[in-house]
């Protein structure tokens, strides 16, 4: 034996050395090692510091149950990962690992002073103090507690890695590739269905990896499965949760086991698997025993020592004592002995032990101490001996040893079963919960089903001790520093439900989520309360089974692919012109087109003036569009919208106002009747999908007798608004087959024809108050037609304008923007749109709600215009309005500013506002209190420009 590395054995590749560092110190191991096994082989016993008391801690387990040995692995800039379990970190060349939660070093941690004062920090201590003086909690106590808490350090820059994701389907999903899982996979594969076999470890085999006798079989079975096309084997893949109807989510680690140079492609991959049947073969996790000194580095699970020796060829000590209450401890001791580990003694609380085990131990010349319990462990940073006592309280012996192994029985891993809402039943023999019933096509096999022979043993983990419980320093949850006596204290303080005990003590709430502590905590609470375990309950298992990176879970949805950004076919042109954008729903829209050094105000003023004096061109493609077709189309629209539609002539347009059934405005738009049975509807940009879904709902479920169909045509048409006195002159040369004269083509009408040689639906509509057209062309021609219009427009001094100018121009005319001047609580009358409600219509969506008492009551907020006394002052949108500016806070607010701009056309500011009883306040002066001053403004009709509408005709 060199160091702690056994002379032979294990699945490591002794010809391939791996160099790495731990806390800056050069170390080495072999290919196939874990970080834990490589460090143990070098004699490293101290791996980390506990959460609360900063006690020195070593390795407890060899797998994901490890609570103590948490490390940070740094793979270069942006690639630092905290809180990884050393036994689950595969060793590779160049691995850089550091210990955590210590100051300044792992060996000399000054914060371990907490341990000295641990008596002052029992469970729930923070509830009892830090309350005086009142301000000190946030200013003094909390910052200190926060700095002391936490484990590793968060990354501090963008992660350069990317992550993959997929959906997968199979007839049988097997979770866990130990012997039971492999057998289940072979059986399922034989039936010909698709099989996915996943396992969290570096290679499949599970417990068999720690049992050389099974390696030959394991090799054959693995090869057989690998050869089958319909079987997918996924090692390094953790099933993180079971969701409804056998939807199992798993995360595959693709590159972390490779050196940085070898790593290529995605770091992790999310598997979203829908399975016909799920077979859980997740095994069982050994339980520690609860005794004084059970957290000294070198005290670990017997199964872990077995794995380190037989799988990694590492002895965890030179003189090892086994403390067992279970046969499996004896079996592991014998296997360790056979592998060359010096087992000094087996201590077992039981007196009645299977004779063949005792006989085998004798043959191996291992001292046996039946009826004894470990009552103390010497050493602080490593084991230096153990004290045992008969039945924990009687005759005392000291044992010379450098490691103590604990065999406290086994807890079946029923996490995914529990995620699936499968019920559990208590089993006295296992001293644990076993799977019972489920409504999913889900079954457990092997150890997690209770169908595995670990031998027999005692169920409780708390060993008898000479000290009373309240003086004991025996640990239950190692990471969170929960002692058996904390559980006693919780019960003493009236916490009886296991959920309360867990939350009060934090038992089971560490990063291992209680894999080794839940059952012991439950048993101790049961003992203190003198009530059976089943009456205290089991805390619910929640996904994930083990912690999983955010990256794996978000999959492709990172950075540029986070969410689609929708652009119109004219967007590229706007970008080339230097447009500044704003996001509206999923789209980006050009907000304004600055020239030279113009800021937004200057650009918008110029764009506005150009539209009013010449012509402007605007990309309106994002407006929602719905084609409504069928003999009952007009009847349907008549029922949906507030105003009448049946009388609308083909070729004409109408403004439509859509309410929810609650009577409030939810959308609007101008729509056209193209033919008796065909309408072209428009909606707001953000409302497109919502409106279509709402209309489908009414059509399919309320009025399914109507012969009418809805088709989204939002993306079929690019829409180019040409607005301004010269609009007609701009499009005239480009249009074929449509008489553009005012007589033949009046305001609010639509014609079909050609523009630039392609089909168009040409609307004569105006959201600016100017003569205007909206040119609809099939999207793939949108850019071409836009450029042709632009070229024509430039001859007439045109400007391209964006959404901001569109907003100003419509506000000058008092046109509302749904969502800005309305907010989901505004009725048509509130918005001054009473004219758009068909008085004679017997019904439309939302009509009944308009008759509710509060909707017809006086004093509702109504849309009005505001003109500030100082014409150059632009009110802030969202500013609140009061009648009496001198009242004390809280003030009575009577409304707010919904839209506010500087109008270049009018040379002054204008605003729209929702004001209580607003239409009865015309001419009144109201006040807008701002932080630094109060602004006065006069209530006016929300129509600031060309009230008679003469400009519509150019």
């Amino acid at each position: 034996m060199s160091g702690f590395r056994l002379a032979d054995g294990g699945r490591i590749d002794r010809r391939t050395k791996r160099n790495f560092t731990f806390d800056g110190k050069a170390q080495w191991g072999y290919a196939g090692d874990s970080l834990a096994s490589a460090l143990l082989a070098q004699g490293q016993m101290l791996f980390g510091r506990s959460f609360k008391y900063h006690r020195p801690r070593g390795i407890l387990g060899a797998g994901v149950e490890e609570p103590n040995a948490l490390v940070t692995v740094d793979r270069g800039p942006g690639r630092r990962t905290p809180n990884l379990r050393a036994p689950s970190v595969a060793l590779h060349d160049g691995l850089v690992a550091t210990s955590q939660n210590r100051f300044p070093t792992l060996k000399t941690d000054l914060i371990a002073v907490n341990n000295v004062f641990s008596a002052f920090f029992p469970a729930g201590f923070y509830n009892k103090t830090f309350m005086w003086p009142r301000a000190a909690w946030e200013k003094v106590y909390e910052p200190i507690i926060r700095r002391l808490a936490g484990l590793g350090d968060s990354p501090t820059t963008r992660d350069p890695d990317h992550y993959d994701a997929t959906y997968a389907h199979c007839e049988t999903l097997v979770v866990g590739a130990g012997p039971a899982g492999i057998a289940a996979a072979l059986e399922a594969a034989a039936s010909g269905g698709r099989v996915i076999l996943i396992d969290e470890q570096e290679e499949i085999g599970g417990g068999a990896l720690s049992d050389p006798a099974q390696w030959a079989w394991l090799g054959e079975a693995t090869a057989k499965l690998a050869a089958m096309d319909h079987v997918t084997i996924l090692p390094r893949t953790t099933a993180i949760g079971h969701y409804h109807q056998n939807f199992v989510v798993a995360a595959e680690r693709l590159t972390d086991h490779l050196s940085v140079d070898e790593a290529e492609g995605a770091r992790e991959k999310l598997w979203r698997i829908r399975a016909g049947e799920v077979v859980l073969a997740m095994g069982a996790i050994e339980r520690p025993l609860v005794f004084e000194g059970n957290d000294v580095p070198g005290v670990m699970l017997a199964s872990a020592a077995r794995t380190f020796a037989l799988r990694y060829g590492v002895a965890v000590g030179r003189k090892v004592v086994v403390m067992a209450v279970h046969d499996s401890g004896w079996r592991d001791a014998l296997a360790l002995h056979k592998a060359g580990v010096n087992i000094a003694a087996i201590v077992d609380l039981r007196r009645d032990i299977a004779p063949e085990l005792v006989e085998a131990a004798r043959e191996a010349r291992i001292a046996c101490h039946p009826g004894y319990a470990v009552t103390a462990v010497a050493g602080s940073q490593a084991v230096k001996g153990a004290t045992i006592a008969l039945a924990g309280v009687g005759k005392v012996q000291k044992l010379d040893c450098d490691a103590v192994l604990m065999a406290g029985g086994w807890t079946p891993t029923v996490h995914l079963w529990s995620h699936a809402k499968g019920s559990l039943r208590w089993d006295d023999n296992w001293g644990a919960f076993l799977p019972d019933k489920t409504h999913e096509n889900l079954r457990c096999v092997g150890a997690c089903a209770g169908a595995w022979d670990f031998g027999k043993g005692l169920a409780g983990g708390l060993l008898p001790a000479p000290k009373p419980l309240h003086e004991s320093k025996a640990f239950v949850d190692f990471q969170n520093d929960v002692k058996a006596r904390d559980i006693g204290l919780a019960v003493q303080e009236g916490f009886r439900s296991i959920e309360h005990i867990k939350r009060y003590t934090t038992n089971g709430m560490a990063t291992d989520q209680g894999k080794t502590s839940n059952l012991n905590g439950l048993q101790i609470a049961s003992g203190v309360l003198h009530r059976p375990v089943t009456e205290i309950g089991l805390t619910t298992f929640r996904p994930p089974y083990t912690p999983q990176s955010f990256g794996a879970i978000l999959g492709h949805h990172k950075e540029a692919l986070f969410q689609p950004l929708r652009k119109t076919v004219i967007d590229d042109w706007a970008e080339a012109q230097g447009a500044v954008y704003e996001n509206v729903a999923q789209w980006r829209r050009a907000r304004y087109f600055p020239k030279g050094s113009e800021d937004m105000d200057a650009a918008v003023a110029r764009e506005c003036r150009t539209v009013r004096s010449a012509v402007g061109v605007f990309d309106a493609s994002t407006l929602g569009k719905i084609e409504v077709v069928g003999p009952d189309a007009a009847e349907f629209l008549n029922r949906m919208y507030t105003n009448p539609w049946k009388s609308l002539e083909p070729g004409r347009c109408r403004y439509g106002l859509l309410l929810g059934e609650h009577g409030f405005i939810i959308d609007d738009g101008v729509s056209a009747r193209l033919a008796p049975d065909r309408f072209h509807l428009t909606t707001t940009t953000g409302g497109a999908a919502r409106v279509l879904n709402m209309m489908e709902d009414y059509l399919q479920t309320e009025w399914s007798d109507l012969d009418v169909w809805l088709t989204s045509t939002t993306e079929q048409w690019a829409v180019i608004a040409v607005q301004g006195p010269k609009a007609r002159r701009v499009i005239e040369p480009l249009v074929e087959g449509i008489d553009l004269s005012p007589e033949a083509f009046p305001h609010m009408s639509v014609r079909e024809g050609k523009i630039c040689g392609v089909d168009t639906r040409l609307f004569r509509v105006s959201f600016t108050g100017e003569l205007g057209f909206e040119v609809n062309v099939p999207a793939e021609h949108g850019r071409m037609v836009w450029e042709a219009i632009w070229a024509e427009g430039e001859k007439h001094g045109a400007a391209a304008y964006g959404t901001e100018t569109m907003h100003v121009l419509r506000a000058e005319k008092g046109f509302i923007i749904v969502g800005q001047d309305t907010d989901g609580t505004v009725t048509p009358d509130d918005a001054g749109l009473g004219w758009a409600v068909g008085k004679k219509k017997p019904d439309f969506v939302g009509k009944r709600s308009l008759a509710r008492p509060d909707i017809v009551a006086p004093g509702r907020k109504q849309l009005v215009g505001l003109l500030t006394d100082d014409p150059q002052l632009v009110l802030e949108e969202g500013a609140q309005i009061v009648a009496d500016p001198n009242q004390p806070v809280p003030m009575t607010m009577i409304g707010h500013v919904t839209s506010s701009y500087h109008s270049a056309t009018l040379g002054r500011s204008i605003a729209m506002a929702l004001v209580a009883g607003g239409r009865d306040r015309m001419g009144e002066t109201l006040h807008i209190p701002m932080p630094d001053r109060t602004i006065s403004a006069k209530v006016v009709t929300p129509m600031f420009y060309d009230a008679e509408g003469s400009r519509l005709n150019g």
Binding site: P82, A119, F120, P122, K128, T129, F130, M131, W132, E142, I145, R146, A149, L151, D153, S154, D159, D161, Y243, H244, V249, H470, E493, H500, R503, Y504, T511, Q513, P544, P547, Q548, S549, F550, G551, G555, H557, K558, A560, F562, Q563, L565, N583, V584, A585, H662, G663, T684, G686, V818, Q820, D823, G824, T825, D854, G878, A879, Q880, V889, P890, M930
Partner: protein, 417 residues
């Protein structure tokens, strides 16, 4: 009740803490009470406490079907703020925030109210308009809320990515400095302990199975798993189970119960100093004193009592978190869980009297009930003590669904264009 203090903690340390009594004694139900609260969450326990403390009614029982604080009180992301738009909401939530301040001392229980600030991010022009509207309304209502530029947002919360090249650039934020978090379990335990000390019986593992009404229709008492209890004043504060309890009294309610998920990361050293909410990206996060990143996920689309949500909700939540805080992709999700939230048509609570005399209700808090805990408890207690709502909760009546006077904060932030 043995007083909690640093002095007593040190004293107890020298006798292994054997002198601490039960937080609240386990009581068997009496034959009758002057008032019963159904549901031992923070709201219900708070109501019992204030009934005893402020309104002089001490013969009170809180009846809980499971363990106290085990519903949404123990399952939420503990965000506290009051920067709501409408007067009704601002007054309601600010009443609570005023009570949060000093609650630890009032209860003699450190509930760890941490005024670390709640920052709500604006990602588009509409958000900016909406947040400014909130800020102005809050100012005139005496509620603190201030506008921060993107750079100020970044200074307040360094993990924030304010690059204009992100999918949803940060255009600014609204910060309520008095907003923050508190320790959820401690709130329930603190109220239970303090109420218990004033004579309130806390009865766990005792489901209500019926509400008995007299010939005049008024409440006479409640049937429970542990027998009938006479009582003429019953306050129901049962969150997701409110519909079921109300049905026992013959009332149908405008409520639906949805699954809501939340999750935490593994603990790390302090990196995230405040609470950040982004409605546009759908991300809500803070860091607990323990070091875990505490993240609110969305509700599932369908009603359910399963306390179990779908995974794609978690996918979208973490994608959103990493979009605005890109340093966290290598952080690891430690635990997810689900709660049942009861949602009204206007997503504002119902807090007041019901059509049944002697039956009072506090429900419909949706995803935002924790922040209101002390206020909701106090107002339910006031309403039960006076058989009239306080002026703060008077607007939160059931009539509003009939007359149309809804209090729809979410609609006020509606997006269209």
């Amino acid at each position: 009740m043995k007083r909690f203090s640093g002095f007593n903690l040190i004293g107890e340390a020298f006798r292994s803490h054997q002198g601490w009594p039960e937080h609240w004694p386990d009581k068997a139900p009496k034959a009758s009470y002057d008032a019963i609260i159904v549901g031992a969450g923070g709201h219900g326990l708070g109501a019992a406490y204030y009934l005893a403390k402020k309104y002089g009614i001490t013969n009170v029982a809180v009846i809980e079907k499971g363990w106290l604080g085990g519903g949404n009180t123990g399952r939420n992301t503990t965000i506290i703020r009051s920067n709501y738009l409408y007067d009704e909401s601002a007054h309601l939530y600010d009443h609570a925030v005023k009570l949060w301040d000093g609650l630890s001392q009032d209860l003699n229980y450190n509930i760890m109210y941490s005024k670390r600030g709640v920052l709500m991010l604006a990602h588009n022009v509409h958000d900016v308009q909406s947040f400014k509207r909130h800020i102005h309304a809050n100012r005139l209502n005496g509620v603190d809320n201030e506008w921060l530029t993107p750079e100020e947002c970044k200074a307040y919360c360094p993990p924030l990515d304010i690059s204009p090249r992100t999918r949803h650039p940060v255009l600014g934020g609204a910060l309520q400095r008095r907003g923050g978090t508190a320790r959820h379990d401690s709130v329930a335990w603190g109220y239970a302990r303090a109420a218990s000390a004033l004579g309130v019986d806390i009865i766990q593992n005792c489901a209500v199975t019926g509400i008995r009404r007299g010939a005049d229709g008024a409440v006479e008492g409640v049937e429970t798993e542990r027998g009938y209890i006479a009582c003429r004043r019953v306050g129901v504060s049962a969150a997701g189970s409110t519909s079921l309890v109300m049905k026992m009294a013959g009332l149908d309610f405008p409520l639906e119960s949805y699954p809501l998920q939340a999750l935490v990361s593994e603990p790390v050293k302090p990196i995230f100093p405040c609470v950040v909410m982004s409605n546009t990206v759908h991300a809500y996060m803070s860091q607990s004193d323990k070091g875990e990143l505490v993240i609110g996920a969305g509700t599932d689309q369908y009603t359910s009592y399963s306390q179990r949500g779908a995974f794609h909700i978690v996918e979208h939540t973490l994608a959103a978190i990493c979009e605005i805080f890109p340093i966290f992709t290598r952080m690891r999700m430690l635990r997810t869980w689900g709660g049942i939230v009861d949602v009204t048509p206007d997503r504002s609570p119902i807090l007041g009297k019901t059509p049944v005399k002697g039956l009072y209700v506090n429900c419909g808090w949706g995803t935002g009930g924790f922040k209101a805990t002390p206020g909701a408890g106090d107002l339910l207690a006031y309403t039960m003590a006076h058989d009239e709502p306080h002026k703060i909760n008077a607007p939160y009546n059931l009539d509003r669904f009939r007359n149309g006077r809804l209090i729809d904060e979410a609609a006020a932030a509606a997006v269209a264009h």
